[in-house]
Subunit: 236 residues, 2 copies
DNA sequence: CCAGGCTTTACCAAACCTTTACAGAAAGCT
DNA sequence: AGCTTTCTGTAAAGGTTTGGTAAAGCCTGG
């Protein structure tokens, strides 16, 4: 249940208010604490203050270049840094990496991809090997969900799920006994906020429900919580 | 005195003539044979020629980045490599270490420290050769992949692969049951992060898939995991 | 200059996501 | 209970995304 980097505090330095707001929400939904710095002025102080666990740094900043920022941060701190770079901009990238950025992320990016890389640098920072092994298996009773392999089985028999269905199932299981709201599910699974009249999650939930029903004969259920969302339930 | 690595032949790739001369003297004094390459041009050929036991590689080179050099060497050889990186410039373990560097050494360094690490990687290499720790052969059922020799066979019959295809196959096999994401594959195989619309991995994956299919008649498959990446699968 | 091999592009088919519509269930109200 | 409103299940149509594939472009080493 405890995903990597849960609770890690991330400093996001980006001048694009809209984009960074969306990204912040996404990150928070993934369990990070996020602070945004729009102008980069205080970024160096903030980044080196020791309160953050990682920095996401846009290289395209209005007043000061991200590269310069990166250099200054690196003078005082070894905090993990991910740069956001323009697509195909090799120069910034190489310079960035050589200045000690831990990774880069070409724009435009998919938030889940960024989160994956963020977790990677955090994991690497903490005991490299130690926590490296995730709890790859979740699920209850005879239902096994192997996240790294993206495989689902009931009593050993594989269940064929689409990408979204798989993600949805994982989200539901991670939510455990708590009800997962449509908004949470939409953000986690579809990568967008939920708005009224959006029935997409419902459709996926039902398709998933159907497949699980067929495969497990009622061993796993997806319970509807009227007006709120869904919850996965199984005979323990 | 002459402990580990006595007589080992080291290739030093560094453009700073003064520094590398001093280092060479120090290393020779410690019992190593040393060859220096200043411009890095011939470094790949030299490193992969089989005459050296280890490479010390400066990442800050004038014409070509050390990272690029590293990648090319790793395409053809498993020789131990230590990177020299600028201070604080954890020149990317993401890229450096993931591309297969064995260790890194921040500049400025104390020669004794470098020698210690050099011996460590040499010892590790030899130890692995002695112990059963290594898996020079990976693959399943009738597919044999010999990494040091860079040879692939199906039921003894060789399969002709390009460098990239071979690396891709190894990356897939090493990932085992886990799905290898495009980003992971891109980093490991191509030495760069993945960005959307980059289809290179897909093309290689399909070429490889085709060759394996022809050779093994379905004994090995490269499975596509939609929206995520690929996985190698074989009849066990 | 050629050859081999990596990358990019373009196109197509298949997979699959989203939307829509409607019917049925649940909850509220009187 | 009945009636009304709100919400969810479900099927199907439509549209979008994704990956396979062929081919052209490009780079590099010979």
């Amino acid at each position: 249940m405890k995903t990597d980097g849960a609770g890690a505090h991330v400093l996001l330095v980006d001048d694009d208010v809209d984009l960074s707001t969306m990204l912040r929400q996404y990150l928070e939904n993934e369990g990070f604490r996020v602070t945004v710095d729009f102008n980069g002025k205080q970024a160096v102080d903030a980044a080196t203050s020791g309160v953050y666990d990682a920095v996401i740094l846009d290289v395209m900043l209005p007043t000061i270049t991200g590269i310069e920022l990166l250099r200054r941060i690196r003078q005082d701190s070894a905090i993990p840094i991910i740069m956001l770079t323009a697509k195909g901009d090799q120069v910034d990238r190489v310079i960035g990496l050589e200045l000690g950025a831990d990774d880069y992320m070409p724009k435009p990016y998919y938030p889940p991809e960024l989160v994956a890389r963020l977790r990677a640098v955090l994991r690497r920072r903490n005991g490299e090997r130690a926590g490296a092994e995730e709890d790859p298996e979740l699920g209850f009773s005879d239902l096994k969900v192997n996240t790294p392999a993206r495989r689902v089985t009931w009593q050993g028999a594989p269940i064929q799920l689409t990408t979204t269905e798989f993600n949805l199932l994982v989200a539901l299981l991670q939510s455990g006994d708590r009800v997962a709201t449509r908004d949470q599910l939409s953000r986690n699974v579809l990568g967008r906020a939920w708005e009224s009249y959006d029935r997409s999650i419902d459709v996926h939930a039902n398709n998933l429900r159907q497949k699980l029903l067929n495969a497990s004969e009622g061993g796993v259920e997806i319970e509807t919580v009227r007006g709120v969302g869904y919850r996965a339930k199984g005979r323990q």
